[in-house]
């Protein structure tokens, strides 16, 4: 279950050591924008040690690496891949070719360190205009792709416009990336909300992302995590409906009927699939330690 992802600056021990207590489903240990060039080497070692020696309980570990147009990305992968993080997030992914370069290098490392092929998954960060245009190709070029991730901040720089709280300027990109991801059969994550101090606005932004079809949303501020979790968790209504759907299917099978309607609507495969996902998520939430979910 991945509703929320929280960025943690890769060179700040104070924040990393508490990373798994902030309620996010995934933490993104950031070797890229959060780390100054003079500290890239130290951050890499710190993040490697953190993954190796700390137990990140109840959350996935994602590492954001530096982009292909820097000297750092190879060293980042050298250091991190042997530890088998859940996901690696390549940055400024603009084309399928970009993914292939990373993919090949990881394959080499997996072989070198006797890690099973395709163990390390990718969640490319789409933050350029070209990346948006190539989103579907990016999402389908490699078996490693687990999801697409939208980076609003850098994207607006590329688009030559301002990044705003309303997000009008990234609306097309949001919808396009959701389409591309769903067409490719992978998940898709929304960019962080811009205002750290707006405790109401985060709800609206997350609701909007959910309404477009995003799987979840990222945050740079821990204060946004609870709101994101709440919005992307199934509501009681969603869960009740999901159980109704499964019950209706069960009855249909018993009665030997091919198709069945519920509340005047035909229940077809996508609705069943969605119901199963909802139930799975609800059950996971129940068994999670003290789920921050009302």
């Amino acid at each position: 279950m991945r509703r929320s992802m929280l960025f943690l600056p890769g060179n700040t021990p104070n924040i990393i050591i508490n990373g798994d207590s902030l309620g996010a489903d995934a933490v993104i240990l950031d070797l890229e924008d959060a780390v100054s060039p003079s500290e890239k080497d130290a951050a890499r070692i710190l993040v490697r040690n953190a993954i190796k020696l700390m137990k990140f309980e109840n959350c996935e570990v994602i590492v954001r690496i530096n982009s292909l147009d820097t000297d750092y990305w190879k060293s980042d992968l050298d250091e991190i891949v042997p530890l088998k993080p859940d996901l690696i997030m390549p940055t400024k992914t603009s084309s399928a070719a970009d993914v292939q370069i990373i993919d090949s290098y990881i394959t080499e490392l997996e072989r070198k360190f006797s890690i099973g092929p395709n163990t390390v998954k990718l969640i490319p960060l789409i933050e350029t205009a070209l990346g948006v245009e190539n989103a579907f190709r990016i999402a389908t070029v490699s078996k490693r792709i687990s999801a697409l991730f939208l980076g609003g901040e850098d994207l607006t720089a590329d688009l030559r416009c301002k990044r705003t709280k309303d997000g009008n300027e990234i609306d097309y990109a949001r919808k396009r990336i959701v389409c591309a991801a769903r067409a490719a059969g992978v998940d898709v994550y929304d960019t962080p909300f811009t205002d750290v101090n707006d405790d109401e606005g985060i709800y609206a932004d997350a609701e909007y992302a959910k309404s477009l079809g995003f799987t979840g949303k990222s945050a740079v501020s821990p204060r946004h995590v609870a709101a994101i979790n709440e919005v992307f968790s199934p509501s009681q209504k969603d869960v009740d409906y999901a159980y109704e759907v499964m019950e209706a299917i069960r009855i249909a099978k018993e009665q030997g009927r091919g198709a069945i309607a519920l509340h005047g609507k035909m229940i077809d495969a996508p609705i069943v699939a969605r119901a199963q996902q909802t139930i799975a998520m609800a059950e996971e939430l129940l068994s999670m330690r003290g789920g921050r979910h009302e």
């Binding site: 207590s21 902030l22 204060r223 609870a226 330690r289 789920g291």
Partner: protein, 471 residues
């Protein structure tokens, strides 16, 4: 007609008959902005009076000159409920021959009233007073709000001197302490620095871990069974404690719960809860910020109470006995739920019970909010360096890695587990902490007693030993 107005401090002290070996007392409502204690002690030193016992309800960094008076034998003994780190460090290094006597905010008035710690001369700093000594903390440039801790001194000391920087015409309206207890009144230029007396506003924590714990704390209260109409509540002035109050307010408003009273230690957040209708009244023994001072001045539902009324165990009853929930802090907690608020992990004194033991003893649910470790030091240990509040009075410990419930409280554990909260055994919390930080080396206790921790009933709870600097 008696003339109580005295021109100078020296004259007042002389008239009081203060002699070597006597006891003087002070309240701490001017906190770190207080001028009075230092002013008085300086005068006493200049008058060559020696060997005094100083009974101050709390001592702050600004009172550091007291240590010089100790070295010069003006002061022989200190009695207090709280001592901040700068003075505490000196005491821990062994600057005094006689151990400091730590009491609690409820135990101090009790001890005074029962005659165990008699006061010869009480000095009452008053932000507003008339020439006969009717005085209050609610008005004036140095307004501090409630004068709760000054009451037992005024009512029981042999001589009472009011010191004010705001002499008002007789009779002062809205007095707290009546003239019937006051012997002399002295006017000075300033009794304190307003910015040190009350903070502009106390703020909730912005630390994300603190906020997570605060949200859990509010949930514990919600599912404890105590959060219903008539609910009463006290919280500390620390960041996470205040955040818990904020989350609690949201729950109370959402569920339309009408509480009865808020108690404390009152901050702007409690005032907000009162004004939002979460409580019928606030019972205030001390104001922490300007919002609280403004509220106690103008809202009849916000009442001043004396420390006797607040927490004295020898009163017929005290407010803490009717309290539902209290949220407290801790520097250390051990696996028996004993709590330390007097020293840091190195043994240096940097605090004191204040109202900790009193509220923990009285409240139906006493909750500690503390991070699992602070700068690599685990909060949970085998044995606390100093027992400030005994484990039998602590029900819940909320950390970011889990919530521990005192086994004495069986029902609560089941209820909270059912609500989906992350309940762990206290021993497991200690192990989790040590797995992260490593196991700290146990420190050797010093050989000399530098302070006694006296429980609210007058019995000796623990002894604090000196810290030697070498390592």
């Amino acid at each position: 007609m008696s003339n109580k107005s005295v021109k100078t401090m020296r004259e007042a002290i002389a008239l009081s008959g203060l002699k070597d070996g006597m006891t003087v007392s002070f309240h701490h409502h001017l906190r770190n902005g207080d001028y009075v204690l230092n002013m008085v002690m300086e005068e006493i030193a200049a008058m060559n009076i020696k060997g005094l016992t100083v009974n101050a309800s709390s001592l702050f960094d600004t009172h550091l000159p007291l240590i010089d008076h100790v070295k010069n034998h003006v002061v022989r003994k200190i009695q207090t409920d709280y001592m901040s780190g700068v003075i505490g460090r000196c005491i821990s290094k062994g600057v005094m021959e006689e151990p400091v006597e730590f009491r609690t905010h409820g135990g101090r008035p009790s001890s005074i009233e029962l005659g165990c710690t008699p006061i010869d001369v009480a000095f009452i700093a008053a932000p507003a007073s008339d020439p006969m000594g009717n005085c209050t903390g609610k008005y004036g440039k140095s307004a501090c709000g409630s004068l709760g801790y000054a009451f037992p001194d005024a009512m029981n000391a042999k001589k009472v001197i009011v010191i004010t920087d705001n002499l008002m015409p007789y009779p002062l309206l809205g007095w707290s302490i009546p003239e019937t207890y006051v012997d002399y009144v002295v006017e000075v230029d300033a009794i304190g620095d307003p910015s040190g007396i009350v903070s502009g506003t106390t703020k909730i924590t912005r630390d994300p871990i603190g906020l997570i714990m605060a949200a859990d704390a509010a949930r514990v209260i919600q599912y404890s069974g105590l959060l219903k109409d008539g609910f009463s509540f006290q919280t500390g002035a620390g960041g996470a404690s205040l955040a818990a109050a904020k989350f609690l307010k949201e729950i109370m408003l959402k569920e339309k719960i009408k509480g009865s009273f808020g108690l404390g230690g009152i901050t702007g957040y409690m005032v907000e809860m009162l004004n939002a209708g979460c409580f019928e009244s606030l019972l205030d023994v001390q104001c922490f910020d300007l919002d609280a001072v403004e509220s106690i001045r103008s809202n009849p539902k916000h009442q001043e109470i004396s420390s006797i009324h607040y927490a004295s165990p020898s009163a017929r009853s005290a407010v803490v006995d009717s309290l539902d929930v209290v949220i407290l802090g801790a520097t250390e907690i051990d696996t028996d739920f004993n709590v330390n608020v007097h020293t840091d992990s190195n043994g240096y004194i940097m605090g004191g019970s204040g109202g900790h033991s009193d509220t923990a003893a009285g409240a139906k649910l006493s909750m500690i909010i503390a991070p699992l470790s602070r700068a690599r030091l685990p909060i949970v240990t085998d044995h606390v360096t100093c027992i400030s509040t005994p484990g039998k009075d602590i029900d819940v410990v909320v950390t970011q890695k889990g919530i521990a419930i005192n086994p004495r409280n069986k029902g609560l554990s089941d209820r909270l587990k059912q609500a989906g909260l992350n309940i762990v055994d206290i021993n497991e919390l200690k192990e989790i902490a040590e797995r992260i930080t490593g196991v700290p080396r146990k420190l050797e206790k010093g050989e000399r007693a530098v302070a006694k921790v006296i429980y609210r009933d007058g019995t000796l709870l623990d002894t604090i030993y000196n810290v030697s600097d070498t390592r």
